[in-house]
Symmetry: C2
Subunit: 234 residues, 2 copies
């Protein structure tokens, strides 16, 4: 089966509606699919699983795609195995990863997506497409049993990638410094994905899409920019 994946930096662009900028992408990704499973575990701002699922369902209704929350199934494992498509929303990556591991679902989700079930991730939902969650920006509000994630792509993501703000006198680390610190401990390449861009996987071909170049970090190399529509190869 062909891999069919979108990993987006953010769900929402400034001043726009939820997922609006991804409408054409969603249409192509989920062509022929009339029902998907939404994974609400990252719960941004502590929103309930039901309310978060409704937010996703409202958007997908425009595309005539029904949405069911993974939390509503008696057997989430079977639900994943039988799903026609997935959307994992953003929020807190630690919360999302803890829940997926504790429910024993990370492996099943990976298997389903690698077998061709379409997958959309935004923010935290994109982080779990990487090898591990160790380049998330999120606060460790819970302790997951492992930082390992699905490894749908052979690298890690840093969603909401932010360039250093000129003139800022704050002494906290820049995003680039943080990723350089990651590379003192890990050899995994990192794609810094700016808001408005996403990663597209079709079969084994991985490309950068959207409106911004991505910043690529490889251990031992000077970070560099990758252009939109270029392949991501390490």
């Amino acid at each position: 089966m062909q891999k069919n994946i979108v990993l987006a930096s953010t769900s929402t662009l400034y001043g726009q509606d939820y997922l609006a900028y991804l409408s054409p992408v969603v249409q192509a990704l989920f062509a022929g699919v009339n029902e998907i499973i939404f994974i609400p575990f990252a719960r941004p701002g502590g929103i309930s699983h039901d309310d978060y699922t409704k937010r996703a369902a409202d958007f997908f209704a425009q595309h005539n795609i029904a949405v069911k929350g993974l939390h509503t199934f008696a057997s989430p494992l079977e639900a994943i195995q039988q799903a026609k498509g997935f959307f994992t929303g953003g929020g807190n990556t630690f919360l999302l990863v803890k829940q997926l591991h504790e429910l024993g679902l990370m492996g099943a989700l990976k298997a389903a997506v690698e077998n061709g079930t379409a997958y959309l991730g935004t923010s935290a939902g994109s982080n779990i497409g990487g090898i591990n969650m160790q380049t998330t920006n999120d606060m460790p509000i819970v302790y997951p049993p492992s930082f390992e994630t699905m490894g749908l792509v052979p690298f890690n993501l840093n969603p909401h990638y932010l360039d250093p703000l000129p003139g800022l006198q704050h002494m906290g680390e820049t995003r680039e410094t943080r990723i350089a610190e990651f590379h003192t401990q890990n050899a995994i390449p990192v794609v810094g994905l700016r808001e408005g861009s996403w990663i597209r996987v079709r079969n084994e071909v991985i490309t950068l899409e959207g409106t911004h170049t991505a910043r690529i970090f490889e251990q031992g190399k000077v970070p560099y920019e990758l252009n939109v529509q270029e392949k991501i190869v390490f």
Copy 2:
């Protein structure tokens, strides 16, 4: 014995030398102490333990205090038990906490400081003075065996606390949003400590010191400001 602790938001203020603004504080904290142990494990930017220790030693030489790196002792446990004072520098909190737990030193350090050995922390070194490290800003570049820290104070810290930047169109969470998410999962109060401020513990009295009010987050309450020189009581 009296507790004698300083937990600072940052080591360095913009445009100033390392630790310079803390000189008077260091003099009072380490009065009568001529040698301290430096804990270099947070390694900002991947600096070596030796180089990081030298940076600290260069500052403390001005105060006629000798500095030895904890990494240089054959038995770091004994070194902690016999120390006259401690300084834990900033960097990556995950790295620091992993190392302290794996070497079995977190409990010994807590015991020594609670028995009256003077302790200075900056940034990551302040985070470990809280109940756990779950309100750090750092990237999870390694997986610590636990997020628990020393609990020298009955709350958590958020060093380098940053107010929302007006006009920013970036959709990543603000610091306040992140801490609110922490409180969907945890009841521990959080002190958002701006750069230039520090927490002073003398015996059982905990006060805010420095140049900025602190932002206080309690579960179920609207966040509020605490003035300099006020006691921190929960």
